[in-house]
Symmetry: C2
Subunit: 582 residues, 2 copies
């Protein structure tokens, strides 16, 4: 770390000679690996961009010259060079920087970014802003080949071609998305690599953009030459840079998928430190689909957008490849594609994450819901979390709740999940979304078989207070039930609603007789969610309603304990509120 | 109409000889013009596709062979040939078919479609469904050059290239979007037209797709030859077809923008029949922006996605072209581009329609809201309407309401709108959306100047009943107020909330003292909207709350009177409900 110890900002990079720049790459790689091996994080993406990041800060003058990192999961070397190296070297300061760029951390970052394919649009905006203000400076976007399949990147390239001023789009081509790339584009990108950029089929030129190919993306001097050649260029240009994902760490090169993002691992052996073989709720769904296909149901399609590992899909991919579809990073297409399949007699099962599903909002509405097509949408990661601001799992409920014709279900255990999936695979009313419960897989004996009409599961029939505890928060509801019973000597009603979007009006009406207070618990953002609809239902009655869930806000790496306290999502806090109202 | 009189389905098209096919084109064109001139509708798009539609049904066997029409605003000739000609010929049956494809109307339509850029994804789904079922048949998508700029079309082309079986993508290149095209793609499409498809820069080939160019897209025999050459092809192919928007009707050819969609007009002279020079609310905003720019504020950018005419933007485009941005059909890019501008010191003002804004949901959240960037979003067409199912204006409130950090304002007249725009242009907290009122422009004397803190406008301070009448429904609220005063002899409180997303908690708390009932009126879908949040606010109190607005449902060309009755949105119905609860 001798060289890195001298680097406190981009200006220090400019002082290095060639030998020192080479040594700096070694130090940065070691710093990245130090943190991700102990803390978990994006491994391969950051190892692949070490050299081009050094070259960028050697050639350009940040922040006058600006770079926008797509997803920004490959920005660790940039962070290390821009005053944040201690967060990679010293374990007790790991948490002082996030896993993505943040303007709160550094003047060298311009946006909080965590979703793909936005960088070129943002850079075109920065560049046009520069032009309108008649200022100078370079604007660059760095985007991975995997992110290029997202339609927004295409919209932005098409617009970038009309900019008429400086813009440098660095396509970081490491031949990988999170998993393998998918799409015709990747055949022609390979042709470009094989021909050193000379192949006729060139996406960028076909959009009217200037283009250059750089083969040695993991060589600092090559990248310096490439950047110097385009610095202060007077029009948009695409630099197609060939890099290696995981470069310089053999384990990461050998298994690029595993090392895209990895929990803590042993640096020497590459063994995971917290390995777990527990079954997951997505695994429950995937195993059922595999059993269906194996039993002869050939009219099934399992679809995801570049994150098969998040949903235990690799096993299905391997055993039933004809029924497996990774559309690449193209959430919008995944949903419209599913609409086409459903219209032609295939039952699509989409796997999406709560925080990426919004990328297909209009397709959920316009293609699936308007047309009442019976697709199944498995929603993962839908819960209050302590993750990054761009990866909050609380907005799926209000989002889906706002769209007609989609039924959104909230199982609380393995059997309910399976029963809902089985029903969703045969019903013909329209799209059905199912929210995977958070936490470990739990079992119970029975589940309703039919979800065509809303029917809440009344687990304890009581009086005075009714607890509607949705999805994973059923366990919280049970704790509240127990405390009310023990402490207040009342026998409340405990309900597992099962249905997020559909009201069991019979049940809700019935509660009016023996209850004066309904409390709702949901593992999501309250505004526009489940509880508010319940409150509105009781608006014209004497029933009081208290909604518990997350405040409508973006949180950024806030510990769960703090969130639970902030949102009054502890049994103590809930019981204290109940006491005020009975 | 001699030939058309013999055509009752695609099978009849196949019986025609060349001369008759030529005559059929004349008849179809006359039928289209008959309806759109009397009824309003898409003119140019349908006149341009007459010949290729005849050729399609001559060569292919619908519905075994399937065609998906992008946006489907060019599907009138297809409707005329598939059993629905009377709805174009006879005025009393005009309303029996919608302006878009509909599987409810015909087995030759597969989806309800009204948004752009979805057709290729849907067709890939249909094709893959065919393959999984081991069936035969051709699947085609027809997409205009304008719609190609939408990212979803790119995602779909990229996926289509990997299909490995029959798919025919017809690119209907009429050199126009709704307005002029924008983007580098359109330069290279022009090169392809000029070189009869031989130019090196070819988007489709750059995605690994087979490609053919057909110059004479308005010649039936050329199109028959082109379709016969690809019928039953064993892999995906793009047919790049050059057509003329408005072909065969001189007025429409001469002004392609005006005739994209036109209200009723005189067929002979081309004069509009219901021309109006009334000021619109979007005009109020645009005129203010023009005045700002003229006064030296060069840090403004007015942005829209291919629908400048809907927002009175052509005047700004003409006078201040440096501050005008039509990004093409690329709603997602428009928002991320605005985020980049805002970050670099420019104040972007986005103009979007309630029903297209969902196409940028994740960009609103991830790029603008997470980063708290002070963009201004003007939302048009946000109201209950009697339009098509894909053009409902009621979901913008729940959608924006679900996203943190966006302030959504609801002016009720010109002065409030202007005051909000002026404030939004200088505030620095984050994105501000403003919902244009429905109906004619009305004026009042004053408006609040500052919208940083939620403050409701209490127009009448009374007791017992408080009416919170949002946006355009303030007039409905006034009627309810008057009836309650006259009929029930009570003095209710009448409030213009102004803020959709932010609660004026002081005001709401204060109402508890003298009121027992709050009624909310909103011109949008209730679920997840303004009223439900108010109901939740009062959930723990004795206040009763009644929400009036649209039911969460898709409606399709339902008359306003029927909707008003269905949703109890008449003064009579509201007062009747109030009577039950006081």
């Amino acid at each position: 770390m001798e060289i890195l110890s001298r680097i406190n900002g981009p200006e220090d990079v400019k002082k290095l000679n060639q030998e020192e720049r080479t040594a700096l790459a070694v130090d940065i790689r070691a710093a990245v690996l130090n943190k991700v091996s102990k803390n978990g994080g994006h491994v391969g993406p950051n190892l692949g961009t070490v050299e081009l990041t050094i070259a960028f800060h050697y050639v350009f003058d940040s922040p006058t010259d600006k770079i926008v990192w797509d997803v920004s999961h490959q920005s660790y070397p940039h962070k290390i060079l821009t005053g944040r190296k201690s967060a990679f070297l010293e374990e007790d300061t790991f948490s002082t920087v996030s896993g993505y760029t943040s303007q709160d951390e550094s003047q060298h970052d311009f946006f909080k970014i965590g979703h793909t394919s936005t960088s070129i649009s943002l850079a075109v905006g920065l560049a046009k802003g520069r032009d309108l203000k008649q200022e100078k400076g370079n604007v660059a976007a760095l985007i991975g080949d995997g992110s290029l399949s997202g339609g927004l990147a295409f919209e932005a390239l098409n617009n970038a071609a009309e900019l008429g001023s400086n813009l440098i789009v660095i396509v970081n081509d490491n031949e990988m998305s999170i998993d393998e790339n998918f799409g015709g584009l990747y055949r022609t990108l390979a042709e470009l690599r094989e021909t050193q950029g000379q192949s006729e089929n060139n996406l960028f030129k076909s959009l009217g953009l200037d283009y250059r190919y750089i083969e040695e993306g993991n060589d600092v001097e090559s990248m310096i030459a490439a950047f110097e050649a385009v610095k202060d260029i007077d029009h948009p240009i695409v630099l197609h840079v060939h890099t290696e994902k995981g470069h310089g760490y053999d384990h990461a090169v050998a298994d690029k998928g595993l090392y895209h993002w990895r929990p803590p691992f042993d640096l020497e052996s590459g063994e995971g430190l917290n390995s777990s073989n527990q079954q997951s709720y997505s695994g429950v769904v995937v195993e059922h689909l595999m059993a269906e296909i194996a039993a002869g149901n050939t009219k099934l399609a399992a679809i995801n957008a570049a994150i098969p590992g998040m949903f235990d899909l690799p096993q299905l991919k391997e055993k039933h490849p004809a029924h497996y579809f990774d559309v690449g990073i193209a959430e919008a297409h995944s949903v419209s594609f599913a609409a086409g399949l459903a219209k032609n007699g295939i039952r699509p099962v989409l796997f999406h994450s709560s925080y990426f599903l919004p990328r297909a909002y209009d397709q959920l509405s316009h293609d699936l819901a308007v047309n009442q097509l019976p697709a199944v949408i498995i929603v993962g990661n839908g819960h209050v979390n302590e993750s990054d601001i761009t990866h909050q799992g609380i907005f799926d409920i209000p989002m889906i709740n706002s769209i007609p014709n989609i039924k959104y279900l909230a199982p609380t255990n393995k059997e309910e999940l399976l029963a809902m999936v089985k029903w969703a695979l045969v019903q013909t009313e329209g799209p059905v979304a199912i929210r995977l419960p958070a936490g470990e897989v739990i079992s119970k004996d029975t589940a309703f078989l039919d979800y065509s009409q809303a029917r809440y599961d009344i687990q304890k029939a009581g009086e005075k207070v009714a607890i509607l505890a949705l999805g994973s928060y059923l366990s919280l509801g049970k704790e509240v039930y127990q405390r009310l019973t023990d402490q207040l000597d009342i026998s409340p009603t405990l309900i597992n609603p099962l249905f997020i979007t559909d009201l069991d009006k019979n049940c809700l009406e019935g509660l009016k007789q023996e209850h004066s207070l309904v409390i709702t618990l949901e593992d999501g953002s309250l505004t526009g969610g489940f509880g508010e609809t319940i409150a509105a239902f009781y608006g014209d009655s004497a029933m009081k309603v208290l909604n518990f869930g997350a405040t409508k806000e973006f949180t950024d790496n806030v510990p769960m304990e703090e969130l639970a306290e902030r949102y009054r999502l502890t049994p103590e806090a809930i019981v204290a509120e109940v006491k005020k109202h009975i």
